[in-house]
């Protein structure tokens, strides 16, 4: 099993701030693996994700996505990833289908590939005829489904999702989780997730990394961590790591 993402001593310090937002973190994500970054607010999860997505520059360290450095080859990195920010919106004046077409056009090298991406996006989002309506009239859940479809329709090597199911009801959230698992297993796609929802992470992830104060404290499989901390669930592990600074 190859490595899709290799994060090496990655750091970020914002100007005029005394502390590092992300402090020398290292972890890797394998092909077809779902890796989740969890941590309290301000732990540095979003900063890490934004660095890997090439949106902001790292102060130190590097991350390699499918063999390409985020520092030296950001353009190549972007060809291999998709990023879904937390609470992201879509262009309200576009219809759902034109949005999928527009985004597919940024990834596809020819019309045939573009059509293939759009067809896949249409099938994944499950919005049916409503794709012909303006996004401005969509509910929050519908927009999230559309964005999720957009993020996976190009079958990126690595899909990065910040709070993937935020704003979705229980049924829709469950569908999305199942979809992520299916895509990882059947299409060998890798996912880097960030979430505050421990149940979701426990259900969907293969491995997790717990961050606090910019540092990656613990990395491991769900069952492995529960065993290591003698905990009944991931929430208990999280509490011990974040609240008690227990590193095992």
């Amino acid at each position: 099993m190859g490595t899709v993402l290799e994060v090496k001593e990655l750091s970020k310090k914002y100007p005029k701030k005394t502390n590092f937002a992300v402090d020398k973190i290292s972890f890797s994500v394998n092909e077809g693996e779902i890796f989740a970054l969890i941590g309290p607010n301000g732990a540095g999860k979003t900063t890490t994700i934004r660095m890997i997505s090439t949106l902001i520059q790292a102060t130190d360290g590097d991350a390699i996505v499918s063999g390409h450095s985020i520092i030296k080859e950001p353009d190549k990195v972007r060809e291999n990833i998709t990023y879904l920010p937390d609470e992201a919106g879509a262009y309200k004046t576009m219809t759902g289908i034109s949005y999928l077409n527009f985004m597919a056009g940024l990834f596809a090298k020819d019309q045939e590939t573009l059509d293939k991406y759009v067809e896949r996006g249409k099938a994944i989002c499950g919005l049916g005829d409503r794709l012909n309506e303006k996004i401005g009239g969509y509910s929050r859940g519908m927009i999230r489904k559309l964005l999720l479809a957009r993020a996976v329709m190009t079958e990126p090597k690595l899909a990065i999702m910040d709070e993937a199911t935020s704003g979705l009801d229980v049924i829709n959230a469950l569908e999305i989780r199942k979809m992520i698992k299916t895509l990882a297993k059947e299409h060998n796609m890798s996912f880097l997730l960030s979430s505050h929802n421990m149940l979701e992470i426990e259900y969907v992830s293969d491995r997790v990394g717990i961050m606090t104060n910019g540092r990656l404290m613990v990395v491991g499989g769900i069952d492995e961590l529960k065993e290591r901390y003698q905990a009944a669930n991931l929430e208990e592990v999280f509490e011990r790591v974040v609240k008690n600074n227990e590193v095992r």
Partner: protein
């Protein structure tokens, strides 16, 4: 392909049905306003008709009125009054102006050789500029009656011939010349000024609207993308940031030009509608009326303006377009930086303010006065605003002030390069996501500091 894809998306976002409707509406509104104003003014000017009540039965008054009638330049509507209550009488007759020649007027002039009063009654109107035109026209008609009266007195009381009367009345033949930049042309400066103003007033309006629209569009486009987090999605896609930046700027320029086109078409029709008849009048009266030469020889304004070096050459238009483009580019670059700092709708509104002020100050200053004739200190301050150079470009080009033009152009290029450098730096680094302006935050910070003190 990706640039085209983003440009198409940006244009779709900016040129909506509502936006097109708004453009057409503005254009139609201006055209209709021009027609209404023009119609009202024409009606006013056409009213060389006056309502007159002749209460004098003298031969002198009858002769004067006959001559006025024969001149065909005025159309007198004769009425009889039933009482001295002029307000009620005018209401009854449905008229706005009334001239009353009282009984004994002719006798006073011919027998007593004393001036006698003629009453002129007007209804006070507050309906704008056009409402006063009727009164002005009526006054002109009274002036004409007065001239005929004088001629009659000179003819009958002093026995002067028509030629002698003409000499007394018009002993001076005024030939008007205008000098500009050591060049001279036989043309009235006031008439030339009116034409010059009409020609040059379209440009500042176009610049004003173009700048405001383009700036607001790019600012809204960037800030909305940032607030909705669509920008993060877009910039994490395999597309260069420069393509995104370029597409946004190009879309804003195209939309602004489209807006300006509709507005200028509307504005031109507004001017034509409103001033059409007046322009004709000015052109006809542009030369010295007293010289008996073919009108075309002295009233050709274009020729006079060319002689004075005030006419725009094709090269002037190219140079003006160059500066106009630079101005829009500066506006877009500054708006791009400001828009990228917005965190919410409120902060977008606050951030629009500096652009609006920088666009409005030179607009009003150049509309009201000549920047070049200001004191050096004031001139430096006004010219420090990069947009000023485009407002004054047309005037400078028309007047041949090429040094000011070139200095302005170089200054704009430097200003644009600096702004673009900052915009690109912002767009290609973390600053796009880390620099922010939050009006609420700064207010709260200030409040907290005050409370601490």
């Amino acid at each position: 392909m990706k640039f085209g894809n983003i440009l198409k998306k940006e244009l779709r976002e900016l040129i909506t049905v509502q936006a097109i409707f708004s453009m057409i509406f503005t254009m139609v509104l201006l055209i209709v306003m021009g027609q209404i104003m023009g119609g009202a003014m024409e009606e006013g000017f056409d009213t060389s008709q006056i309502t007159l009540c002749n209460q004098d039965d003298s031969e002198f008054t009858a002769d004067v009125l006959k001559k006025v009638d024969d001149s065909e330049s005025t159309n007198i509507n004769y009425v009889e009054l039933q009482s001295d209550d002029y307000a009620a009488e005018m209401e009854r007759l449905g008229i706005k102006n009334l001239v009353i020649i009282p009984k004994g007027y002719g006798e006073s002039i011919t027998e007593k050789q004393e001036p006698a009063p003629v009453k002129f009654v007007s209804v006070f109107q507050t309906g704008g500029i056009t409402s006063s035109i009727g009164t002005i026209t009526a006054s002109d008609v009274i002036g004409e009656i007065e001239t005929v009266c004088t001629n009659e007195v000179l003819l009958k009381s002093y026995g002067l011939s028509d030629e002698e009367i003409s000499l007394i009345r018009d002993p001076m033949q005024t030939v008007e010349y205008t000098v500009n930049n050591e060049k001279i042309a036989e043309v009235s400066p006031s008439s030339l000024g009116a034409i010059y103003m009409m020609q040059s007033m379209i440009a500042p309006f176009a610049i004003f609207f173009l700048l405001l629209m383009a700036s607001q569009m790019i600012m809204t486009a960037i800030s909305t993308e940032k607030i909705d987090k669509t920008l993060e999605t877009l910039l994490s896609a395999p597309v260069s940031r420069m393509s995104v930046l370029g597409a946004k700027m190009a879309a804003a320029v195209i939309t602004a030009l489209l807006n300006a086109l509709f507005m200028i078409v509307g504005f031109v029709f507004y001017i034509i509608g409103m001033m059409g008849s007046t322009v004709g009048e000015i052109s006809m009266n542009a030369g010295p009326e007293t010289i008996d030469v073919p009108v075309s020889e002295v009233t050709n304004m274009g020729q006079a303006m060319a002689e004075l070096g005030l006419a725009l050459t094709p090269m002037s238009y190219v140079l003006f377009a160059l500066q106009l483009f630079l101005t829009i580019a500066i506006g877009l670059a500054v708006s791009l930086i400001l828009g990228a700092m917005a965190t919410d709708v409120k902060s977008v509104q606050t951030l629009t303010l500096p652009i609006m002020v920088a666009v409005m100050i030179p607009f009003f200053i150049t509309m009201l006065s000549d920047v070049n004739s200001m004191s050096l200190g004031f001139k430096v301050i006004v010219y420090a605003i990069p947009f000023t150079h485009t407002y004054t470009a047309l005037t400078n080009l028309m007047n041949g002030d090429m040094l000011i033009y070139w200095i302005g152009l170089i200054y704009q290029i430097i200003f644009f390069a600096v702004c673009m450098f900052l915009a690109v730096k912002m767009f290609t680094t973390d600053k796009l996501f880390t620099v922010s302006f939050n009006s609420d935050k700064s207010r709260k910070k200030k409040k907290a500091q005050t409370e601490e003190q």
